[in-house]
Symmetry: D2
Subunit: 438 residues, 4 copies
């Protein structure tokens, strides 16, 4: 539909949720149903073979199918009609057993889970790669001093690796969430009309059907969408975590700060009017995605109140929403991997920025030091006063403090950035022990 189908998304995932692939998964499910029923003697083995052989997306008139969806309200109805017609033409007997005892939602939901399974395989691979480059950059920069910032103000020095270690941990957390949800998510949907099964949809059929498709047996969840929404939530969180990384990088790329840069590529990040600019284009796209995913998660959640055994509208609201949520999150993931892999870091500019406050950023360190002798509140007030003088007189805080507290001997030490980074390095090292840093 949109000019931007490649801008915000990942190619592989666009393909996975393409029309053809979606139909392909539905056909795979129809075939599996016939095979399961045949293996249990519910339908003839020959019929199942014919059905299986006919479950080929090349036989389907996709445009007609898309148009027909509007009549029945879902994609399985016209697909089953086409499939039955195809089979009837060659084997009337077999055509009796297409979609035998099943309902549209059985096919659509199970096919969707199959696609989600592929999606998760892809996602886990990308997460592992992202984790790996984040471990590398964290290890490499665990000692690279930069200023830490709170409320967009310079606060106290940290190291760049300390910052990226935070990014890394959020990604690892998502990795674990994705791992944990798989056993609950990879479930078949198979229950017939109202989910209760029937003589052709027995517990044994469910088991066989699940086995063929590589999924877990499950009680129907036709209008119980909690696990699907749990998954949507995990995607929303991942998109948010990646948005946080992009936000940090875009802020550090500001002309006045210039501490990191997106990797340069031919034609990348250029402005049509300002040839000198180096725009945080990848960050912008990731941030755009993380601006959009919360609304999609909320739509999924709003669609949970599904009436009775199948909803009139809420189920339908999931279809494009979840696909788009997966697509945008995949896009962010792929872009984040590219972003971190090619990130250019400028330790020089990081050091330069530490100096621009004329020592004000060491104020807390001085305050903490003084508090031992004169008390915390008192030190806080004294240093606050010294800071004001430093600012108004455009002097370095070190000088002002030295004047106010001439007895302090180790003032120089207090104003060295490497002494102000707290436990940045050791804490990063603790974290990195959980990863392979080779």
């Amino acid at each position: 539909m949109s000019l931007y189908s490649e801008t915000f998304y990942a190619d592989a995932i666009n393909r996975l949720f393409s029309e053809r692939e979606t139909i392909g998964y539905m056909l795979k499910v129809e075939a599996a149903l016939a095979e399961a029923q045949a293996s249990l003697g519910i339908i003839p083995k020959e019929a199942a073979m014919v059905i299986s052989a006919s479950c080929n997306v090349d036989f389907i008139d996709v445009n007609k199918l898309k148009t027909d969806i509007v009549l029945g309200g879902n994609a399985a109805i016209p697909l089953v009609q086409q499939l039955t017609k195809i089979i009837k033409n060659t084997d009337f007997e077999a055509s009796k057993y297409v979609h035998f005892g099943a309902t549209s939602q059985d096919i659509i939901d199970t096919a969707n889970i199959l696609a989600i399974k592929e999606y998760i395989t892809w996602t886990e691979e990308k997460i592992l790669l992202l984790e790996k480059v984040l471990v590398q950059i964290t290890n490499q920069h665990k000692g690279t001093i930069m200023i830490g910032r709170t409320l967009l103000q310079q606060a106290r020095p940290i190291t760049f690796g300390f910052k990226t270690a935070g990014w890394l941990q959020s990604v690892t957390n998502t990795k674990k969430r994705v791992q944990a949800i798989k056993s609950q998510l990879f479930h078949i949907q198979l229950g017939g009309a109202v989910g209760s099964g029937n003589i052709t949809i027995t517990e044994e059929v469910q088991a066989k059907f699940a086995e063929i498709l590589g999924l877990e047996k499950s009680f129907p969840w036709q209008s119980q969408r909690d696990t699907l929404n749990d998954f949507a939530g995990i995607l929303g969180v991942l998109s948010g975590s990646l948005g946080k990384i992009a936000k940090d990088i875009s802020l550090m790329m500001q002309t006045e700060i210039a501490e990191v840069f997106e990797g340069a590529a031919e034609g990348k990040g250029g402005s049509s009017t300002m040839p000198h600019k180096r725009n945080p284009v990848t960050c912008a796209l990731i941030l755009s995605n993380s601006t959009r995913t919360p609304g999609l998660v909320s739509t999924m959640l709003a669609a949970m109140v599904q009436e009775h055994e199948r909803s009139a509208g809420y189920w339908h609201a999931e279809w494009e929403t979840l696909t788009q949520l997966m697509g945008l999150t995949a896009g962010s993931l792929e872009k984040s991997l590219d972003l971190i892999q090619h990130l250019e870091v400028s330790p020089e500019h990081m050091l330069r920025n530490i100096e621009i406050t004329n020592g004000l950023i060491y104020a807390e360190k001085v305050s903490l030091y003084l508090s031992k002798s004169i008390g915390k509140m008192q030190a806080h007030e004294a240093v606050k006063k010294a800071c004001k003088s430093a600012v108004s007189e455009e002097r370095h805080l070190k000088e002002v403090v030295q004047e106010a507290f001439p007895d302090i001997t180790d003032l120089e030490t207090l104003f060295q950035p490497e002494n102000a980074i707290g436990n940045s390095v050791s804490w990063v090292e603790t974290i990195l022990k959980n990863y392979n840093t080779d």
Copy 2:
């Protein structure tokens, strides 16, 4: 991207926001810019003519453009590159003046407004048609008695026209809102790099550019997105109003209620497993849309906090979001028109349903009647008690009340539905005076 591109949307609007049309609008804007600048002597007239002639979507390599968006972060950058290259091949001099002094956002935003203008033309037509069929159905059924329901419970009788008059008014309200926003929305975006203009983008160029495109002159609104969001809000409200109509109809279509039905069409509303069902398929799609639009509006609003003179991400978040919001709302509008046009109404079932409570729905009427003699709270309690007896003894409320208050003489009148519809008819007639009911 999706199998459902025709399910939830309107064909005409899908085409309007197709890749080719979107590029076409951008090219139209580039041509208008050249023409405006030429008419004011800023660029040579010959150059403008060459540029105009080259602004043809057939010359554009759309796939390359889509791929290149990722590099620059928006569609105008690769479009201008392709356009300049095309022109350079034939007229080197003219190629100097392509996109002269403009910035990507000038092109994208103005092109978007042009598309929105078309969208609104289409929308206004559909709203007028919907208004017309709602006026018809309201007029036709202003006296058709049915039960009014609150909290999903039968309450007191109304008429079906009274219900549809409410639907009608919400649609008319949106019509007025759309009408009112046009003068604020149909504004050019033209300001160059940071919106401040330059020697090639003067107030005169803006005026001429606006005139050529049939839009209003405007101070740049590059990162002031309030009017665009006001428009998004109007769409969200329309989608909600249509969702309310679909909700009512889907509830009235329940098997146990059966008061109205979606028009039957060959193959429509069928279930793959239950041949007898008459599913509210159109309602389900409209409700699906109204479940999704709130999240899209919230994304638009969340994207308002755009940094400085052009945002790094929030502007980007608008693109697909607004298109999708327009698409879904257009889909709901077209489907609602079809829904109301072909709605089958069953006055018999409406009357039947009025009787199923054994007179309980007249309780308020009795209560109000009694309150004149014994007081409101007292009447309320007395009638409550009578209702309990009626229910437990499975008797008609009329009998129970007659026993409790033997002096009432005009009890029969109280229990006639036509006497219980309040001012339904006269109020509907008052409303219909605002419309042409011929």
Copy 3:
């Protein structure tokens, strides 16, 4: 702030997040910090004892604190000021060590986690109770025949226990999610100014601090909010699952359906104007909550893109949002428990409703039966035709089918509801094996 503070929420949780309790948790954290630092010799043991003793909400001027928040932007700043002042009045030396080396976010986040821990304890208790009553009702009604409905249309019979088994499973799924997140969520926040620690905030201090508070040691997550959002997502899903239950019940309570009812209580569910009504008041409140929670989850997710080491606005957006999300979800949980505990079920009305379609609901069963001899599509068409005749001629489907297929001998069996419930009973029994049904 609102008249409705008791309407949508749970009293116990309102108290937990009251002003006093919130301050109390922050003071508990300040005390724990002093104790941890004292135990490691970083501050004098006497100071810690004084600080601990002063960490009493009764000493705090709550109104002043609330007013002062606006100045510093968070609650910890004025709290530390008041606390320090209180201590300075009695023990100047001890006052030096209040909030020693910590930052506001350390206190607020850790205090919030302590409250969340209490919240989860309460929630788990309620979930267990809800699970218990759902197991009971499921067991009791595993064979109670009712109609299953899809797209708000009667479809095929199920049992009421089959429906409630679905509700039960969604609640159990949430129980497991809550159980699983605890180990990730119950983490301290302690890192000082920018999260990197300092000489007074060492890894040892973190460990001791965590131990005192009964939480886990953790690397600071000041602007990494993924786990908090994972928790928000779980709440959103729970609220949605409970909304689904309330939706089902409110629909079944419709006057025309009347299959279940909210338990009657003196004054409950009454309408001010219609004394006979039995409104689904509890359902309405739960549905109201599930309408509101998706927006709150989306706000949490939108707030994830927190700048650098502490955000300017996004962190702040979490505070009331998460509290409200917890509050509404707790309200829904408590109300759902009450709803299910006192639910009145009418098996008679359930049976009555099965009959109102003149056998149409058995159409799929007939279709499936016929498909064995004449093929699925063919049977579908034949039964569709029979249904049309039955409707137009107001006859029972059984008669019409008998006429069309006089050879069928066991037609009666096909039209008995107990033969049409598929595997409802056995599947419910399988599910119930996972629970204690005594």
Copy 4:
């Protein structure tokens, strides 16, 4: 409920939506109903006088009322009960006519509109004040040169007044929207049980009732919530526009940029650990609000699909949501006024920042200049190359360009910021003509 009730909100609006005020408005509506009915002879004049006199919030047991809401599901039911009881104690006859023929929603919706009317009066005053200070700052700084930034990168110079003129226009746009919605929003709700009126709720009663309350007569809009949602949308847009201002200011306050500052106040913006910091506290609170309001608007929109004549849950979802949306927007408005009124602007730092790129920001100007002789694309490429050299050799762009194009004579002029601000000043002056700048 929350410690933060004063942090994010405005005191005046907190009071307006306090429990007592809310009840007060409902009582005002009950009184107006009685008066209207008495004036038309529907109820005795004496009864109306007694009812009016009893409609006093001091007579109401607020705590009992709050508890009782849960039973009936809305605040009007227990209020009418208390009111009737109070009146019955003194005048049994009058007690019969309390809430005569009305329904809960009539009272709650109309009372809400009365409160909204007050809210809008307050809001319009604040908007006018904000507009005034924005006009002042725009006028004062129309020539104050600063760098314009796109995608967080320095782009081309503008003036600070040019930036604030954008802020100003968005606020003026909202002023007009608020003005325009009043005639549609200030409508009574009065229709009785199902909205259709009855013998005590006639068109004449509606007219009189409206007149007494200073509102417009209206057909009931019990489940048609489009106008209320249009209003919610306007608030969402205002909150977003104010968020954009706060975003800009918070970014300009960054330590490395330091172009503007929130006004200093005793104790304001301090960090508990970093005495030197000057946090954008007010910006953070406004941004927090603009992060939260989109989710609230989406909840309002999601609640539009209200069933039949009164919804079971969606109406309820509006109550706290709209109040909170109004509260947060009012908070942002009051805070924005304070923010702009006390904003400290540093023209020196603005000029300093313009210089930090060694002339790179003039690249577009040079490019545009060169394009006249060598063509746009060619100039773009040449300048791009020059920029690269300037960066890698750490030289000023002016020198590099001079070397590459030795023939250019007026190079100095190209690199003067006052020549690079385009039409900033004249455009601002055009805008200011719409305002009183005295």
